[in-house]
């Protein structure tokens, strides 16, 4: 038997480097879905508003510009003024950065920590796995918001604390998913093959396991970002995160809640913005998830 087993024409041309191939294939498969495209568009617009908004704001978010609760259109204010006579539109344009920045930071902490814990638990198994999962269980027994409120009670509201708590309480949830995905990889024979030739443990975890859980990892990043946005906005809304008079979508909702019947924009705009941000990021995440499943099935 001397014929080379790779027959011409049957296999595709030599592929580009691994990283490029994996990501570009996933990205293209994601954006082939109309829902993911809509999600990406919404998400990009909302992120742009959060980033560029402060530059476009006609007024400072914290100065008195008109009579309290001026209706939309009065004094040239697009959406009127709040109960302290500040421009609602300007406060809205300034208010996205904090929500977005805090949730991004918390997501990075949570996913990073969760990834390491999940992979380690899955590969080492046994007692390590048991202990790590018990600790996760304890953290997961608290809804994230309750854990946050618990610590705010002790330390008082602060931006850094909120980021840390949201991140740390996200980690066990990520760890569970990554562990589940990695357990399926651990059982596959190429991991056994690596063990049989004595690959170091660290290399097996990061060289064999990690590249095979990138799809669930990416999905987790999106999912956790969506949840973190909601959670952080909620904590700011409750007054346990960033403090007034800072312009922030969560804070704004609380400030304008009681005057909602005379000045609905102060609530409506930030509520809408948070809703769109989460919808956009979730549609995009769902697109990733579907694309990843499709690729796994070899479609």
């Amino acid at each position: 038997m001397s014929t080379p087993a790779i027959t011409a024409g049957a296999a595709p041309a030599a592929p580009p480097s691994m990283r490029q191939r994996q990501w570009s294939v996933l990205l293209r498969a994601t954006l082939r879905q109309w829902r993911a495209r809509i999600g990406l568009a919404i998400f990009v617009i909302m992120v742009l508003i959060a980033l560029v908004g402060p530059l476009l704001a006609p007024h400072s978010p914290n100065v008195f510009v008109s009579a309290p609760n001026s209706p939309a259109g009065q004094n040239g204010l697009l959406f009127g003024a709040d109960s302290l006579g500040r421009d609602v539109w300007s406060r809205f344009l300034h208010g996205g950065g904090s929500v977005l920045g805090m949730s991004l930071a918390a997501t990075l902490i949570g996913v990073g920590l969760g990834l390491v814990v999940g992979l380690t638990a899955a590969y080492l198994g046994g007692v390590t796995d048991e202990v790590l999962m018990r600790i996760s269980d304890v953290f997961m027994a608290f809804p994230q918001i309750v854990l946050a409120l618990l610590l705010v009670t002790a330390f008082g509201p602060s931006v850094g604390l909120i980021i840390l708590i949201v991140g740390v309480s996200t980690a066990p949830r990520v760890a569970r998913v990554i562990r589940g995905a990695a357990l399926q990889v651990v059982e596959r024979d190429f991991v056994k093959a690596a063990e049989a030739v004595g690959e170091p443990r660290r290399r097996i975890i990061f060289g064999e396991l990690l590249p095979n859980v990138t799809s669930p990892l990416l999905v987790e990043v999106g999912l956790r970002l969506t949840y973190s946005i909601g959670l952080i906005a909620a904590l700011n809304f409750l007054g346990d995160g960033i403090q007034p008079p800072a312009a922030d979508w969560g804070v704004m909702i609380n400030e304008n809640r009681l005057a909602v019947s005379v000045q609905p924009w102060g609530v409506l705009l930030p509520v809408l913005a948070i809703a769109l941000l989460t919808i956009g990021s979730n549609l995009l995440t769902d697109g990733f998830a579907r694309a990843a499943i499709g690729l796994d099935r070899g479609e």
């Binding site: 014929t3 087993a5 596959r188 024979d189 049989a196 004595g198 690959e199 095979n212």
Partner: protein
């Protein structure tokens, strides 16, 4: 009444089924006739479209497929024009189905009794409750299962694999169908169980005058069971005819090569693989689909797909060169050379293995010498893979000694020296799982070289190409990812990775069982060539007795964690001393034995 006088139960004319997504055809130009009381064997390798055709006989297409041409008649009635309700009465009532894997085809949430009785409820609603109960017990009796209430109250997971398949067979025969479609119903079963299941199917088809279509990749099983055979390749029937004509005077080059690839228990010939791979739908060449792999191909073969030629009444072949090949199959060939065995490479001494608290290996002694291939044979659950994993250091839970070149090895691979890990290399059963899908073939092999022969990149790159060449892959394969390779190519890569370490012992764990027979033959050829070239020692683990005959010098037979027999291959095969070995040999179906009956 002889079979020839029976009415035709199944007629298929020019059947075409397309993929909905791309419009490419999965199968086309399918012509079949099956009479009552007759078994048609539909033979093909994976991807040939045989299951698609089998399912179509029930008016069913898997999601993603669609019948776009031709017709299927069951008892003279066309399926295409049937209303939904009529089709439902047909399924299970007139045509029934025996699935490949009853473990997944029986509903895990329903009791056996319910799954059987609902079949009767759906199709003989006019009969009384007592009649249906009686019919159920009668059917269970026919497949030699107890019809007791205790048995009927069980769930599928409380039955053995053989019992599950019997339940599926009972279900299929319960409504006295005219046609039965069997989709490789013995694939997951041990030979002993397989033999009993095949006997049951054969007896039931005969006694109830059922027309059966038996879909299988296993030529030996088809030879045992079928009256007529149709051979499929890449979505087309390339040859069909009476069983003896197909197996004794095959005329299509594919059929001939396929038969040469099947290992022979009698050991009269060596197996020969088929180079290349079968094209997928949408990727098929012009002309005859087999021409790229055919030695006899001429220009005409590259231009147009050959139409049917009737060589003898009922023996139809699609090939321009059908008359040009010798009628007889060569029955001799080179056999594995009797090796000059050298020093002991690995010695397994009084090994007892455990899985948790389960004792799975009992007092195992095995040695493999230099330049020797020892086959470890046994059915599933015999402990053969556990033993192999103990040797490779992947299963550390054992007592006793495993010695490499006289040195006692630590139990787990991590505890062993790098030298010991290099000397023993393991090739896994499933090449779809043993290669990291995120690494190219080149990266996988290079990593192995780096571990055992640290060197510069350039040197490593050269050696990767060398390793690939040794397993007959082109150097271009280094840039491919595993999912861009066929199963056979992946297994070659796995072997290349093992060889890269320059081991003294290669442990091959069922390395061909996930592969098609033509690919299996090619891998066996490769392993044999490697042995003659390098004097490598091999421990070849398999459940396939016929395969051993073509490759091993010595055989060790295991069952239930114990060695029951060991000795030179020829001795064990011709005069087995253990009763178990004898039974195993008797129950292994072979083409040759079937034709002599």
């Amino acid at each position: 009444m002889t079979v020839a006088q029976q009415p035709t139960a199944v007629t298929v004319r020019e059947l075409k089924i397309d993929l909905v997504s791309s419009g490419a055809d999965i199968v086309d130009a399918i012509m079949l006739d099956v009479r009552a009381g007759e078994v048609l064997g539909l033979v093909g390798e994976s991807g040939s479209g045989k299951t698609t055709v089998g399912m179509a006989l029930m008016g069913y297409c898997r999601p993603g497929g669609r019948v776009t041409g031709g017709e299927i008649l069951i008892d003279g009635r066309p399926l295409a024009t049937m209303a939904a309700a009529e089709l439902r009465r047909l399924r299970g009532g007139t045509v029934s189905y025996i699935p490949q894997d009853p473990g997944t085809a029986l509903n895990p949430a329903l009791r056996i009794g319910r799954q059987l009785s609902e079949m009767l409820d759906a199709h003989s609603a006019d009969t009384s409750e007592e009649d249906r109960r009686a019919r159920m017990r009668e059917t269970l009796d026919e497949v030699a299962l107890p019809g007791t209430d205790e048995f009927l109250r069980r769930y599928p997971h409380q039955l053995s694999g053989g019992q599950q398949q019997r339940v599926a067979i009972a279900m299929a025969f319960a409504c006295r169908p005219h046609v039965i479609v069997c989709d490789e119903p013995t694939t997951g079963l041990d030979v002993t169980t397989q033999a009993r299941v095949l006997e049951t199917v054969r007896d039931l088809c005969r006694s109830h005058q059922v027309a059966a279509v038996y879909v299988s990749h296993d030529l030996a099983v088809v030879a045992e069971l079928a009256d007529h055979v149709a051979v499929m390749y890449s979505g087309r029937i390339v040859e069909r005819g009476a069983r003896d004509a197909i197996f004794s005077q095959p005329r299509h080059p594919y059929t001939r090569k396929l038969l040469r690839a099947v290992p022979d228990l009698e050991g009269r010939r060596a197996v020969v693989g088929i180079a290349g791979r079968a094209p997928l739908p949408g990727n098929r060449p012009a002309g005859c689909f087999f021409h790229p792999r055919c030695d006899l191909a001429i220009d005409r073969c590259r231009e147009q797909f050959p139409g049917p030629t009737e060589l003898e009444p009922g023996h139809i072949v699609h090939c321009y060169r059908a008359q040009d090949a010798p009628a007889e199959l060569p029955t001799t060939g080179e056999l594995a050379p009797a090796a000059q065995a050298g020093d002991v490479v690995i010695a397994v001494d009084h090994v007892n293995g455990h899985y948790g608290s389960h004792h799975v290996l009992f007092d195992i002694d095995v040695t493999v010498r230099r330049n020797e291939c020892v086959a470890l044979v046994g059915e599933s659950g015999s402990g053969k893979t556990t033993l192999a994993r103990c040797i490779a250091g992947l299963h550390g839970n054992y007592t006793g000694d495993i010695k490499l070149g006289g040195e006692r090895l630590q139990e787990s691979a991590r505890g062993r020296t790098a030298q010991a890990r290099k000397q023993i290399q393991y090739v896994f059963q499933n090449p779809y799982a043993s290669l990291n899908p995120r690494r190219t073939v080149g990266q996988t092999i290079a990593r192995q070289l780096q571990l055992f022969f640290p060197g510069n990149r350039r040197e490593t790159g050269r050696r990767v190409a060398e390793c690939l060449e040794r397993v007959a892959l082109s150097a271009a394969a280094a840039n491919r990812y595993p999912d861009q390779l066929s199963g056979g190519e992946r297994q070659r890569v796995a072997i290349a990775r093992a060889l890269a370490a320059e081991p003294s012992l290669l442990v091959c764990d069922e390395v061909t069982s996930a592969l098609d027979v033509s690919v299996q033959a090619a891998i066996v050829e490769l392993l044999r060539d490697l042995r003659t070239q390098t004097g490598l020692s091999m421990l070849f683990i398999t459940h396939n007795l016929a395969l051993i005959r073509t490759i091993a010098d010595r055989v060790v037979v295991m069952t239930e964690g114990r060695i029951v027999e060991s000795g030179p291959t020829l001795d064990v095969f011709t005069s087995p001393s253990a009763e178990y070995t004898g039974r195993l040999l008797a129950n292994t179906p072979t083409v040759e034995a079937a034709l002599q009956r």
